[in-house]
């Protein structure tokens, strides 16, 4: 049993459906729960729980239904302060919210299989605010079979180091970055650092944690800028920094953490590590420019896609593995194997990520990458399909309103492209794991294999 966790939520509207599915996935991954159950319980009398589809118009329907069943103007005896006794000075007028809460559930149990919450294609888990805006808590317990390989100790060390680094920074940058970091994320790159940094004679957990946190800050800073470039409204179930605080703040936050991360790495005083990360950072930025330029010829071709992905995603994965091993003073041959492992896995990771864009339960709007004309391998393959391709190309040539986007998503699904991309991603993961064969990996091999295998078949 993994107990005592609390999901910290902040609602912004009187009635709000807050999708907590990404946080649940994160909690399961962090705890290493393979098979079992997640128990959630609201700790408030005006906050309910629900499982339903995260579709904005449906959520508006559900909100309207709650208001229709329990109109806000009552009357409610709970709000009659002339007859109620023992009321506080700041007692809210919220009889309607209490009554609406009983229409929802105070607690939920979600099954977990293969390390993931068992949710149908259209299902998301919501905390339903009925008397906001407020800070809220939902209690969380996990039970079942936990992976023996789950690196909970180093994950905790990473989270503490991230918190420590953010505490030292000015609030205008640390608050938005802190929200994004706290909202979750898979932490694949820093975990790769922490694992590979155990593979040499100079292994040092604290220095490894600093490098890992810096790598995660670089990754997160790129997301902050990407979200502005792509005009993405949401990330990890919350508003993006650009959407919430404006593009000026988003640019400054990204720049601050690019610079801070490179300083933290420089201060480790391992020139090889500094050069590795700096080269990866340049590859990422170069490929971002390519990515945007290639949107002119959308959806592009496989070669262009692979060139962009090697820079955009694989470069930092490979650098995380390389730099961790370099920091530990691992031998050159082992470092090179780890670099190839990271690169292969990075490409697989992006392919799997592309597939997730076509999944309803991803926590992101369906087809967001297509809407933003981000390169996507399933879409490239689908346009090559003789049956679906011409229609997809016709739809992509237009302004792509919601109904056309939905049609594109459906055509990609029936074209077989998702299965093809998933198959190729699995092949790359197998190749990545083969790179680990024969290398002396001092007990972290299982964890590296587990991370690689978790890359494929995910739905978020």
């Amino acid at each position: 049993m993994n107990s005592g966790q609390r999901l910290q939520l902040t609602s912004k509207r009187p009635t709000e459906f807050i999708d907590v599915t990404p946080q649940l996935r994160e909690a399961v991954a962090e705890a290493g729960l393979r098979t079992g159950r997640i128990h959630l319980q609201s700790l408030h009398t005006t906050l309910g729980l629900a499982v339903n589809e995260n579709e904005p118009l449906l959520l508006a329907d559900l909100e309207a239904m709650l208001k229709r069943l329990v109109p806000g103007d009552g009357p409610f005896l709970h709000d009659d302060f002339t007859v109620r006794t023992g009321i506080r000075e700041d007692e809210p007028v919220n009889g309607h919210a209490h009554c609406r809460t009983v229409l929802l559930q105070p607690a939920l149990t979600i099954l977990v299989e293969d390390g993931r919450p068992v949710l149908g294609r259209w299902q998301s888990v919501f905390a339903v605010e009925l008397d906001g805006p407020r800070a809220r808590e939902v209690a969380l317990q996990l039970e079942g079979d936990f992976s023996s390989a789950a690196p909970t100790g180093i994950r905790r060390l990473l989270e503490l180091e991230l918190e420590r680094q953010l505490l030292a920074d000015p609030e205008p940058v640390s608050l938005p970055m802190g929200r994004l970091v706290a909202a979750g994320g898979k932490r694949v790159r820093p975990l790769l650092v922490l694992l590979t940094a155990q593979l040499g004679p100079k292994s040092d957990p604290l220095r490894s944690a600093t490098l890992a946190a810096a790598v995660e800050l670089i990754h997160t800073a790129t997301l902050v800028h990407d979200d502005y470039v792509d005009e993405s409204p949401r990330r990890r179930g919350a508003a993006t920094v650009a959407a919430e605080e404006g593009p000026e703040r988003a640019i400054a936050v990204g720049d601050f953490y690019f610079a801070k991360a490179t300083r933290l790495i420089a201060e480790l005083d391992e020139p090889a590590v500094t050069r590795t990360i700096a080269a990866a950072l340049e590859a990422i930025c170069r490929s971002q420019i390519d990515d945007v330029e290639l949107r002119g010829g959308y959806p592009g071709d496989e070669d262009s896609y692979l060139r962009v992905v090697r820079g955009k995603t694989a470069a930092l994965m490979a650098a995380a593995c390389t730099a961790g091993a370099q920091l530990a003073g691992a031998p050159a041959e082992k470092i090179e194997r780890l670099r190839r492992y990271g690169e292969l896995m990075g490409v697989a990771f992006q392919m799997a990520d592309d597939v997730v864009d076509f999944s309803e339960s991803s926590g992101k709007p369906l087809g967001q990458d297509v809407r933003e004309r981000v390169l996507s391998l399933p879409l490239i393959y689908a346009t090559e399909d003789s049956a679906s391709g011409p229609e997809i190309r016709r739809l992509l040539a237009g302004p792509l309103p919601d109904e056309d986007l939905k049609k594109v998503v459906e055509l990609v699904a029936v074209s077989g492209a998702l299965e093809r991309v998933n198959g190729e991603a699995r092949d790359l993961v197998e190749a990545a794991v083969r790179e680990l064969d024969g290398a002396d990996l001092d007990g972290v091999r299982d964890e590296l294999v587990e991370i690689a295998q978790a890359v494929v078949g995910r739905d978020a």
Binding site: P170, D255, C285, Q288
Partner: protein
Amino acid sequence: MTRIVETELEALDGLWESGLGEAYGAYLAGGGRPETALAAALVEVAVRLQGLGGAAASPPDLLRGDLCLARASRLLAQNAGLTQQVAFARTIEDAAAAAAAGRPLPPVRERLLEALAA
């Protein structure tokens, strides 16, 4: 234009003429070696290109600014010592923090010239 500058301007067309060349000359005159002077010039241009302290850059300019910062970081990693790398990073951190807080930016060129002399 020196050979180092030519090779490092890939994907940054037009920046040399619109301020990068002038900044490079100033940092070179301020005592920087070609590689570190170019790094300083790239940082200065990135700050301007991205609109730090002013209106937000367009997405293409933001990405070009990011590439300038990344290339400067790589040039420093290859050619500068720890003290200079840290001083450069601190300059960007201070400028970005000031921009995020709505305060005037610190004098970037002055700070980078100090960093080159460190």
